[in-house]
Symmetry: C2
Subunit: 197 residues, 2 copies
DNA sequence: CCTTAGGTACACTGATCTGTGAAGTCAAAG
DNA sequence: CTTTGACTTCACAGATCAGTGTACCTAAGG
């Protein structure tokens, strides 16, 4: 529990490789970053990289898995001390630390440049599915809301649209606006629920 | 007017290069497609490609410009015979022909793998800005709607979220749902407008 | 003491990348 | 008849790509 990272079964070198690769992949794209750079930047030989991860594709997949795990943990933490409606924390989770999200969503970006056959692609799908599902549960915490699934779908699109543009616009504005819209949506869904006036 | 394409000042070879490059860039990503493949696939020499476009970056920029022009024209056409609320046509414009959108939004995908310094990046920003602005105007066509800008922002995020997931999910479901949500939003914004009961 | 794990150092392969140089073909327009 | 524009052929540069083979070092654990 002293390490906040995902897989503790990682060698010190492997840990550094994964962290470096994560930063580089996220900020410059996957195809744009070569293994030589990753090795150099992590103070490790390319030989070590291949001894630990076997291939670039595997490293990419590890990157996505690690990223999901990190993001999920952070969200869970934020969720603990959050006042209802807790669904709104998704937006805050992105706005939180800038260098972690200044290029938008790592998963959407990866999906944009990886072929659907890539082993990492199912990690992407899994991540998005998990987020949407968790969102649905959080919305359903308010018993006055009758259609949590529909509302979850709506909020999910708002999040995805906003975070997709986070990288393009360079601002958190879209995220902030999306949060406000979501807040209004949740409020009005909780208000006139039993029977409309 | 006999050619539906953007820049008529293009040589036959250049036209084929641009069309081929567009298809390849969109379906496999920009970094994943080399100039050799583009040249071969368009039945043209690499020499010709460089004589016409100068560099790959320029070709990429031309691709984005062309794509914007095409998309915009198609939208404009669809807009002509559309019943109000005409803002909903954005969704249809994406759902229309599958091979043109089965990998999601070309501009979001390009933004995901290009550095912000790339000459094509401002084309991306321009495209998105134009779409949002047009959306705002279309929404304002209904005089009963008081906050067209806010509503445009909302619809825009729904579109972007849905189209970003078009490539991941492989389905038009997200787009269809987004359209339904937008329809409801527009309807309720048009209904209780003068003073709420 | 000896094995094993996690490395380093470094040369090297073969493929692919963007981009260029030089010479030649062909048709249309002046 | 000659120039110009679009295009071909093909060789080649120089960099970078993912990935491997071999030998060596060092610390921890049996």
């Amino acid at each position: 529990m002293k390490d906040h990272h995902s897989d503790v079964r990682l060698t010190p070198g492997a840990r550094r490789i994964l962290d470096t690769a994560s930063a580089l992949f996220y900020h410059h794209g996957i195809h744009a970053v070569g293994v030589d750079l990753i090795a150099t930047e992590s103070g490790v030989t390319k030989r070590t990289l291949y001894d630990r991860f076997g291939s670039k594709d595997t490293l990419v997949t590890a990157y996505l898995r690690n990223r999901h795990q990190q993001w999920w943990t952070r969200w869970e933490q934020r969720l603990e001390n959050a006042p209802p409606p807790r669904a709104l924390t998704v937006f805050d989770s992105y706005t939180a630390d800038a260098p972690m999200s200044d290029r938008g969503c790592a998963f959407l970006n990866a999906a944009a440049e990886l072929p659907p056959t890539h082993p990492g692609y199912q990690v992407i799908r899994h991540h998005k599915e998990q987020v949407r599902e968790r969102l649905r549960h959080l919305i359903a915490e308010d018993p006055r809301i009758h259609n949590p699934d529909h509302l979850a779908g709506h909020l999910f699109l708002l999040v995805e649209g906003a975070i997709a543009h986070r990288g393009i616009d360079g601002t958190d504005d879209r995220l902030t606006h999306a949060r406000a819209m979501a807040e209004h949506l949740l409020a009005s869904a909780g208000e006139h629920t039993p029977a409309h006036p």
